[in-house]
């Protein structure tokens, strides 16, 4: 269905090609995952499928890309609109109209499909994606998962043979993500669609895919193969695979269900071993308190009656649906949002916003750091030193926009830390981060806590929570519905349980690393 024949892509002005000599064949009806570091060329690969690279992006493409017999060299993206449906990273920025039905019809209108056919296809698509209840709703009022489904629907109405998605679940909470992925699986099964998607959160998608394409991004060739063999060889892997490696299973399990069936012996072996504690028993100095806090807008409270205390040495994970009030609470703690009633007392808090790039204005990393020193009234060189401690290898002459997502986050973190906050707040820190960047973040957070900082992070990333959180607070509809040690809250929840907890239940293990070290200890 999709054939790459010795494809190399070089962007205008770039010294080296993004992709070199890619040979790839994706047969019809497969669901195929493209994985790799940020900036490795995943997006370029995806965009080459429908000709956005090079027709739209510029640059030079050598070799041929062929989709359903059409070469992208002779077909512009618009000429491939009836063969390839392309859904970009942020669904909202790709919407042309303002309500669901019109958005679904837009592509067909462009192609000149007859009105009666359009009508029928819109209805079919509404049913296929479960959007019938939302048909007349304005797009801006939909939740993230619904928007993503509309974006998928809007390209499906032209009856494409191939669906290409760039990080379809990165902004979604776990249940919405599952919803979108289940929809895609249905499309593959029922319509025989070929789906190609890029995703950092392997734990969400690996179980659905038939093939993995790994784009290493360091000049070595692009490789592809079935998931089990691909994951055995790469350093990046979802927790279920890591657990499989720790327990020495072969072939590696890819789904929680597989692993669960294999883990009977492992669970028996570890039944007597107590899982390690995450975080301190005794808490330090109190860094922030809220009492009977109501936060939001007149007649629309976002948070209702929230009383919380955060102490030094704690890593508190705020979890809950999109729109549950996580970000609002963080904004309140840092003083961006005045309470409607109740009190907030958090004098020394610093927030890294959801889009770290919002904090970056300067033309180079060097001047960004100098500016941050002045902003925070810190001695010159503070931010730079912090940044170098958090990570190495950021060239101070780079433009901040050219940094990878992980590097942007580190720089933003350094800028915020320059103000010497005692309590560090992070809003969705792992959005767009690859596994390596995430491991780096986890290490940074552990260091900060060891230094006596307190950390509050709002996140959907259950695996991150399993790794770092000492305490989990679940918000729903503006209220705290659960507050307790990470293990107690997360293990029993179907939505927020990490993969290892699902496999090892009822034993409360959270991460593959815990299991690995316990195994090593007991087998010694």
């Amino acid at each position: 269905m999709i054939v790459f024949d010795r494809v190399s892509v070089t962007y205008a002005g770039a010294a080296s090609p993004v992709l070199s000599e890619v040979d790839l064949t994706i047969p019809e009806g497969e669901m195929c995952l493209v994985m790799g570091r940020t900036g490795s060329g995943k997006s370029t690969l995806l965009r080459a499928i429908n000709g956005l690279v090079p027709h739209f992006s510029g640059g030079t493409l050598r070799g041929t890309v062929q989709v359903d017999g059409r070469k992208t060299s002779s077909h512009r993206p618009r000429d491939l609109a009836d063969v390839v449906g392309f859904v970009g990273q942020d669904p909202l920025s790709g919407f042309v109209t303002d309500n669901v039905e019109d958005e679904l019809a837009y592509a067909m209108e462009s192609l000149g499909v007859a009105p009666s056919v359009m009508r029928k296809r819109v209805e079919e698509t509404l049913d296929l994606l479960g959007l019938a209840d939302l048909r007349g709703r304005p797009l801006a009022q939909l939740s993230g998962g619904q928007q993503q489904r509309v974006a998928i629907g809007s390209v499906l109405t032209t009856h494409p043979r191939v669906l290409v998605l760039d990080e379809p679940t990165s902004a979604l909470d776990p249940l919405a993500a599952e919803d979108v992925l289940a929809t895609m699986q249905r499309l593959v099964h029922d319509l025989g669609l070929t789906v190609v998607l890029a995703e950092h959160r392997l734990e969400r998608v690996v179980q659905f895919v038939d093939r993995i394409v790994h784009v290493p991004g360091d000049g070595s060739p692009v490789v592809d193969g079935p998931p089990a063999t691909m994951l055995a060889g790469t350093p990046i892997a979802p927790p279920v695979v890591e657990l499989g490696r720790a327990a020495g299973w072969d072939p590696l399990p890819l789904t929680v269900r597989d692993a669960r069936r294999r883990s009977v012996a492992l669970r028996a072996e570890l039944a007597v071993v107590p899982p390690p504690e995450h975080g301190p028993r005794v808490s330090g100095e109190v860094l922030a308190t809220t009492r009977n806090l109501v936060l939001g807008y007149p007649r629309r409270p976002v948070l209702e009656d929230v009383s919380l205390t955060v102490s030094a040495g704690e890593v508190v994970a705020l979890m809950g649906r999109n729109g549950a009030g996580k970000s609002t609470l963080l904004r309140g703690l840092v003083g961006l949002h005045r309470p409607q009633s109740g009190t907030i007392d958090s004098p020394r808090a610093g927030l890294v916003p959801q889009v770290p790039a919002d904090l970056l204005y300067a033309a180079s990393v060097r001047s960004e750091c100098e500016m941050a020193d002045r902003d925070a009234d810190a001695p010159a060189g503070t931010t730079r030193a912090l940044m170098d401690r958090l990570t190495d290898g950021i060239d101070p002459d780079t433009h901040p926009r050219d940094l990878s997502e992980g590097q942007k986050l580190t720089l933003a973190l350094a800028i915020v830390l320059a103000q010497r906050p005692a309590l560090l707040l992070l809003d969705e820190p792992t959005r767009g981060l690859d596994y390596t960047a995430k491991q780096n973040l986890v290490a940074i957070l552990h260091d900060l806590v060891a230094d006596g900082h307190g950390v509050v992070l709002a996140t959907h990333d259950v695996e991150l929570v399993a790794e770092v959180a000492t305490r989990v607070v679940v918000l729903a509809d503006g209220e705290v519905v659960a507050d307790g040690a990470a293990r107690e809250v997360v293990v029993s929840s179907p939505a927020f349980a990490p993969q290892v907890a699902k496999i090892m239940a009822p034993q409360p293990w959270l991460t593959a690393r815990d299991v690995a070290s316990a195994l090593a200890a007991s087998r010694r």
Partner: protein, 367 residues
């Protein structure tokens, strides 16, 4: 009779019909300074909007426009109080301390405030307020966005640009808020100018990134695939349409202002309209686009448009037969009642029953 010809069959009225109706009322408002028809016009828009608006987000825009109208009146009165002094009328209501200003400025600050001056200012503001209410009603009943769906094929590119601009404005405001918050998080607060510069960069970058993203999405969804690439035909069409709309604007101005030379009114309007129709027809032939579920244009639409136009026509007739009742002899006089004009405005009330009722959203019923 097909159901969409029946005025009782629940459906959404064509937004174009609402706009023509409202424009008719606005045209009527523009020709009178008499508060009686003006207040009637505001009442009519209020009534029809309450009777026929849906639960869409833009349905709330009437309240917004109404508040704007009140603000316009308030501003007029405040300025009149502060600036006019006793230049008109003799009934002094109260006196403000006068600030001496050189005569060459031609204004007076403070001084006596007369009833006549205030009433004149109020009536002038009322006219503007009535026109605001008409536009607010059009927007609440058939949003500008909905109307843009019906832009003729020749103007499709312009229409789509307007739609995108309408989406971008709120998104840009959201961006500005986010970036301003982020700036506060850094703690940097060194003068407004530098902060503005800091705000502008990320905002512009964000907007640019989003437009590129949108262009990519539109391209991959087949935008522009069916339009012919003959640039000459396209240029002719654009020229015709632009000349046509210019002509129409000048014509409408001539007709409504009533002061210009006679060639500026009806003849110009007709020539402009003819050019526009020609352009739209020539452009419509070359497009291969189709339209999804267009609202029908049926009997209720015609009735609604007719009622709006009747209000305008009777007002214009009134101007012709007895213009005296449309202006006040003196601002304190009891305003006369222009019968013809009021009859027209009363006709414009009919869409409250002539327009079909909106269907109740099935999802709401189910839940």
């Amino acid at each position: 009779m097909r159901p969409h010809h029946r005025i009782t069959h629940p459906r959404a009225l064509h937004p174009g019909a609402w706009w023509l109706w409202a424009l008719g009322l606005a045209a009527a408002a523009s020709r009178t300074a008499n508060p009686v028809p003006l207040v009637l016009i505001i009442a009519v828009t209020w009534f029809v909007v309450s009777a026929r608006r849906g639960d869409t987000p833009w349905a709330a825009s009437y309240a917004l426009f109404f508040r704007l109208a009140l603000i316009v009146i308030a501003i007029h009165l405040v300025f009149q109080t502060l600036l006019s002094g006793s230049t008109q009328g003799t009934t002094v209501l109260f006196s403000l301390p006068e600030i001496p200003v050189p005569d060459s400025f031609g204004i007076q600050l403070g001084g006596d405030v007369t009833l006549e001056a205030l009433l004149t200012a109020f009536y002038v503001a009322l006219q503007l307020a009535a026109i605001f209410c008409c536009i607010g009603a059009a927007n609440a009943l058939g949003s500008a966005r909905q109307l843009l769906r019906y832009v003729p094929a020749a103007l499709y590119e312009i229409g789509i640009a307007c739609v995108i601009a309408l989406t971008f404005a709120p998104q840009l405001a959201g961006d500005a808020r986010r970036v301003r918050d982020a700036a506060r998080l850094r703690g940097g607060n060194r003068g407004r100018v530098r902060r503005l510069g800091r705000l502008a960069m990320p905002m512009l970058e964000g907007a640019l990134e989003r437009s590129v993203e949108l262009a990519a999405a539109m391209d991959s969804r087949g935008y522009g695939r069916t339009t012919t690439t003959d640039p000459r035909a396209r240029r002719t069409t654009s020229l015709l349409v632009v000349a046509g709309s210019l002509g129409t604007c000048v014509g409408v101005y001539g007709l409504l202002a009533g002061t210009a030379d006679s060639w500026l009114g009806l003849p110009m309007l007709l020539v402009g309209a003819a050019l526009g129709v020609l352009g739209i027809a020539s452009g419509g032939r070359r497009t291969g686009r189709t339209r999804y579920r267009p609202d029908p244009w049926a009997l209720p639409e015609l009735l609604v448009v007719a009622s709006g136009l009747a209000a305008a026509a009777l007002m214009f007739w009134q101007v012709r037969v007895d213009p005296g009742v449309l202006v006040l002899s003196s601002s304190t006089a009891v305003p006369p009642v222009p019968l013809l004009a009021c009859l027209g405005i009363a006709l414009a009330l009919l869409p409250a029953v002539l327009a079909p009722p909106l269907p109740i959203a099935p999802a709401r019923v189910a839940r």
